[in-house]
C-alpha cells in the first residue's frame, strides 16, 4: 500500500490490485477446468466433479464450517474456556432480558418474510405489464440498494421525536401532529418499537421479493392464463389457480431467503436502538455478549439457538428439493 501516496497514485495502485486479482482468479479457474477437460477418459468425470465443487467447498470449510463447529464447542464453555456443560443455556433461559430477545426474534421472523413477500407479490402483480413498470419497480427496489447504515439515517428523519410544542423533524410525528395527535417516541415505547424497526426491514426486503416474483410471474406460460380465461375465471381466480402455482418454487425461495436474513438481522437494531428498550434480537445480543462483554461462551450459545431456529426452514426446503428431484 502506498502509505503516503496521493489520491491518484493510490487510485492506480488500487486498480492494479483489482485487475491482478481478477486475472489471477480467472487464470486459476480457467486452468483447472481446462486441465480436467483434457484429462484421460478414465476418471475424468470424477476429476471434473472435483473441479466444479472443490473450490466452493474448500472455502466454505475454512470460512464457515470450521467457525460453526468452533462456535458449537464454545457454546459449552465459559469466558476462560473451561467446559461448563449447559450453563450458558440455563443462563439464557433464566435471564428475562434474553427471553425478550428470543421473543423479539420470533416476532421478526413471523412478520418480515410474510409481509415483505405479500406486499412484494401484490405490487408485482399490480404493475405487471403496466406503463412505467420499470420506474415503479425501481422505486420499490431502491431500499435494497441502500446500506443499513444509510437506512438508519433515512428512518431517523421518519421516527425522530420532538415534544409537543416543538417543531417536529420526523415526518411520522408531523403527520400525527397535523391530525391533532400527540407526538410519539416510536423507538422507545416497548413493545411497539420492535414493530417500527420491523417496518424498516420490510421496507428493505420488499424490493427483493418483488423483483424475483415479478420475474416468476412473467415466466408463467401465457397459454395457461389464456386457457383459464376461456374457462371464465375472473382475475382473482386466475391469480389463485394459475399464477400462484406457477410461481410456487420462487415463492419458497423468496420466503426462505428473507426468513434467514431476518433471523440474522443485526445492523438495523444496532444502528437504530442499539438493542435498548427491549428491542434486542439474537444476532445483536450475540454480538454484544461476545464482543462488548467478552462472553464468547454466551455469545456462541445464542448463535447455536439461531441454528436451531433455522432448522424448520432447512427441513422444509429439503422436502421441496426432494420433490423437485423426483419430478425430474
Amino acid at each position: 500500500m502506498a502509505a503516503r501516496g496521493d489520491f491518484w497514485g493510490g487510485l492506480w495502485e488500487k486498480f492494479g490490485i483489482l485487475i491482478i486479482g481478477l486475472a489471477a482468479f480467472a487464470a486459476v479457474i480457467g486452468l483447472i477446468l481446462f486441465l480436467v477437460d483434457k484429462a484421460p477418459k478414465r476418471g475424468r468425470d470424477v476429476l471434473q466433479l472435483v473441479a466444479f465443487v472443490a473450490p466452493a467447498l474448500i472455502l466454505l470449510g475454512v470460512g464457515l464450517i470450521y467457525p460453526a463447529v468452533r462456535t458449537a464447542y464454545l457454546a459449552f464453555t465459559n469466558r476462560t474456556g473451561e467446559f461448563i456443560g449447559l450453563d450458558n443455556f440455563v443462563w439464557m433461559f433464566t435471564q428475562p432480558q434474553i427471553i425478550t430477545t428470543l421473543i423479539n426474534t420470533l416476532v421478526w421472523v413471523a412478520l418480515v418474510p410474510t409481509l415483505s413477500t405479500a406486499i412484494g407479490l401484490a405490487y408485482a402483480v399490480f404493475i405487471d405489464r403496466s406503463r412505467g413498470e420499470k420506474v415503479l419497480k425501481a422505486l420499490v427496489f431502491m431500499p435494497m440498494a441502500i446500506s443499513f447504515v444509510g437506512a438508519g439515517i433515512i428512518w431517523r428523519f421518519v421516527y425522530e421525536y420532538r415534544a409537543e410544542g416543538f417543531e417536529q423533524i420526523g415526518i411520522l410525528n408531523q403527520i400525527i401532529v397535523w391530525v391533532g395527535g400527540e407526538p410519539q417516541q416510536f423507538l422507545i415505547n416497548s413493545p411497539w418499537n420492535t414493530l417500527f424497526l420491523i417496518i424498516v426491514m420490510i421496507w428493505i426486503q420488499t424490493g427483493f421479493a418483488m423483483v424475483l416474483l415479478s420475474a416468476a410471474i412473467k415466466g408463467v406460460p401465457t397459454e395457461i392464463i389464456e386457457a383459464s380465461r376461456l374457462d371464465g375465471a375472473n382475475g382473482w381466480q386466475q391469480f389463485v389457480n394459475v399464477t400462484i402455482p406457477g410461481i410456487r418454487p420462487t415463492l419458497v425461495v423468496v420466503v426462505t431467503t428473507i426468513s434467514i436474513a431476518t433471523l440474522k438481522v443485526f445492523d438495523i437494531v444496532r444502528t437504530m436502538t442499539g438493542g435498548n428498550y427491549d428491542t434486542s434480537v439474537i444476532a445483536n445480543e450475540m454480538y454484544t455478549q461476545a464482543f462488548n462483554r467478552g462472553e464468547y461462551g454466551q455469545g456462541s450459545a445464542l448463535a447455536l439457538v439461531l441454528f436451531i431456529m433455522v432448522l424448520p426452514i432447512v427441513i422444509y426446503n429439503v422436502r421441496v428439493m426432494r420433490k423437485q428431484r423426483e419430478i425430474r
Partner: protein, 447 residues
C-alpha cells in the same frame, strides 16, 4: 500533513484550492517543514523504514490534530506512524487481538478495556523509558490505571474533566441566579428556575443518546454523586466491585440524580418529557441553553467542541461552566475525569520510541497547543490550552488538593462499564425498571 489520512482531491481546480485553504486551516503543510528542530527528538534515536501502526477511537478533527502532533517526531526519527482511527476500535480490538492481528499500539479509551486486554495476555509491558516518563509527569493514581499486579503496561495520554455544569452567564445575570456552592444550593436554584417553566423551558437539558453506547452520560451523573456523597474510599470500592450497586451508598446517588433526571418539572428543556433524555443525542443535549430553553447541562469538558461555531466559551461569554457542587461547604473539591492509555501489542525499538514520546511532556505540549484537548501531564503548560475551559480543566487536574477519581464506568469490567451500566441508566430513565430493579440488574451482570 504527511499521512495516509491526507489525500488531496485534485479533481477540479476550484476544489483543490478549497482543499488547500482547509488544509491550511488544519495547520498542515506537506511533509516536515525544513525548520524542524530535532534537538528534542534526538533521545528517541533514528530508524530506517520503520513503521508503527497506531489504532484508536479518535476520528474527525481530533484525528487530524493527533497526526499533526507527531509529525516532527516522524521527521526526526524516521519512524512512519500509520494512524488508523475508527469508532469501532473498542469492539474491533477484541477481534483483532484474538485473531493475532493486533496493531502495534492502541490508544485505549478506557482502563476497563485496558485491564481486560492485559488480563487476556495481549499487552506488552512498557519499557523502562516509558515508566520513567510516567513517574516524572503523572500522579501515582494515573500510573496505577495502567498497572496490573505491579507490572506497568500503559502510559496515560490525554484527559478530560467530567462533571462540569454548563450554563449561560447572561441567563444567570438576567434572572439573578448565583453559581451554587453546594448540592443543596443547586437544588434550590433548580427549584427557582422551575418557577419559570413554559411549554418548552425546563431548568435542565439532558441527552443520553450515543448510538449503541446510549446511556453513558447517565453514568457520569451517578459517578459524580457517589464521589461527593460516599467519598473517595467508597468510590474506589464501588469501582473495584467490592461495593455493590445495590448498597445504600450507591442507592443514595441514584436517588439524588433521580430528583433531577426523573422529575418532569426539571427536565428536559428544549426536548420534551423525561423519556426524551434517551432519544436526545448527548451532542445536542446542551444546545437549548443557547435558545433559552434550559439553564443547566451536566457534561464533561469535551462538550466545549459541541457548541456551534462562533459560541464564546468564557466566564463572560455565551456559555461557561462550573464543577458539580460538593455536598457541604467544608468538603474537599472532587472531580471525576476520563482519559486514554497507550498500550503496545508488539515489541520493537520503534514501538518503544513512539510510546516514550507519547508519554513525554514534549508530546503533551505539542498536542495541547493544537487545541481541543487537555492532559494530566504535569509537564504541561496550562497557558498552551486553547481555551479558558481548557486552562481551568488543566489547573483542576494539576491541583494538589483536588480529589481526582477516574470515570467509574471506564474502570469497571466491560460487561458492566460499557454495557449493563449504560443500558441500566436507559431503563431507569424510560421507567422500564425502577431504581431497585436497575441496581439488582447491574449487579447481576458482574462477570
Amino acid at each position: 500533513m504527511s499521512s495516509t489520512l491526507h489525500r488531496r482531491w485534485i479533481l477540479p481546480a476550484a476544489a483543490a484550492s478549497f482543499a488547500l485553504v482547509l488544509a491550511g486551516c488544519a495547520g498542515g503543510g506537506s511533509g516536515p517543514s525544513a525548520d524542524v528542530d530535532c534537538a528534542d527528538y534526538e533521545q528517541y534515536g533514528t530508524f530506517e523504514n520503520e513503521s508503527v501502526e497506531i489504532y484508536a477511537t479518535i476520528i474527525d478533527v481530533e484525528a487530524d490534530q493527533i497526526v499533526e502532533s507527531w509529525a516532527d517526531f516522524e521527521a526526526c526519527t524516521g519512524i512512519t506512524i500509520d494512524y488508523v482511527g475508527t469508532q469501532e476500535a473498542e469492539t474491533q480490538i477484541n477481534v483483532r487481538a484474538a485473531a493475532g492481528d493486533a496493531p502495534d499500539i492502541m490508544i485505549v479509551p478506557q482502563p476497563g478495556l485496558l485491564q481486560r486486554l492485559i488480563a487476556d495476555g495481549y499487552v506488552v509491558p512498557a519499557a523502562q523509558s516509558v515508566e520513567d516518563n510516567v513517574d516524572e509527569f503523572w500522579s501515582e493514581s494515573w500510573k496505577g490505571y495502567g498497572t496490573v499486579d505491579g507490572t506497568f503496561y500503559a502510559a496515560p495520554l490525554m484527559a478530560s474533566v467530567k462533571g462540569w455544569v454548563w450554563y449561560s452567564p447572561a441567563d444567570f445575570e438576567a434572572n439573578g441566579y448565583e453559581v451554587p456552592e453546594t448540592w443543596d444550593d443547586l437544588m434550590a436554584l433548580t427549584e427557582d428556575m422551575a418557577a419559570n417553566n413554559t411549554a418548552t423551558y425546563k431548568p435542565w437539558c439532558v441527552g443520553f443518546g450515543s448510538g449503541d453506547a446510549t446511556g453513558w452520560p447517565g453514568t457520569d451523573w451517578i459517578e459524580d454523586l457517589v464521589l461527593r456523597t460516599a467519598g473517595p474510599e467508597a468510590y474506589d470500592q464501588w469501582v473495584a466491585g467490592e461495593l455493590k450497586f445495590d448498597s445504600p451508598e450507591i442507592r443514595e446517588a441514584f436517588d439524588l440524580a433521580g430528583e433531577i433526571l426523573l422529575n418532569p418539572d426539571y427536565v428536559n428543556g428544549g426536548f420534551g418529557g423525561v423519556d426524551s433524555i434517551v432519544s436526545t443525542t448527548f451532542n445536542d443535549g446542551g444546545l437549548p441553553i443557547l435558545d433559552g430553553n434550559c439553564s443547566l447541562h451536566h457534561q464533561a469538558s469535551f462538550y466545549e467542541a459541541q457548541w456551534p461555531e462562533g459560541t464564546v466559551v468564557a466566564p463572560d461569554g455565551d456559555v461557561w461552566a462550573f464543577i458539580t457542587p460538593k455536598m457541604s461547604a467544608d468538603d474537599p473539591e472532587s472531580v471525576t475525569g476520563g482519559g486514554e492509555f497507550v498500550a503496545a501489542f508488539t515489541e520493537s525499538d520503534a514501538v518503544t520510541a513512539v510510546q516514550t514520546y507519547l508519554s513525554s511532556d514534549t508530546w503533551a505540549n505539542n498536542r495541547v497547543a493544537l487545541g481541543g484537548v487537555i492532559s494530566a501531564n504535569k509537564g504541561l503548560d496550562p497557558e498552551l490550552a486553547g481555551s479558558e475551559l481548557g486552562k481551568a480543566s488543566i489547573e483542576i487536574l494539576q491541583g494538589e488538593d483536588t480529589v481526582f477519581r477516574f470515570d467509574g464506568s471506564d474502570l469497571m469490567p466491560a460487561a458492566v462499564g460499557t454495557s449493563s451500566f449504560w443500558t441500566g441508566m436507559v431503563d431507569w430513565i424510560v421507567g422500564t425498571r425502577n431504581t431497585d430493579e436497575v441496581l439488582t440488574f447491574i449487579d447481576s451482570t458482574y462477570p
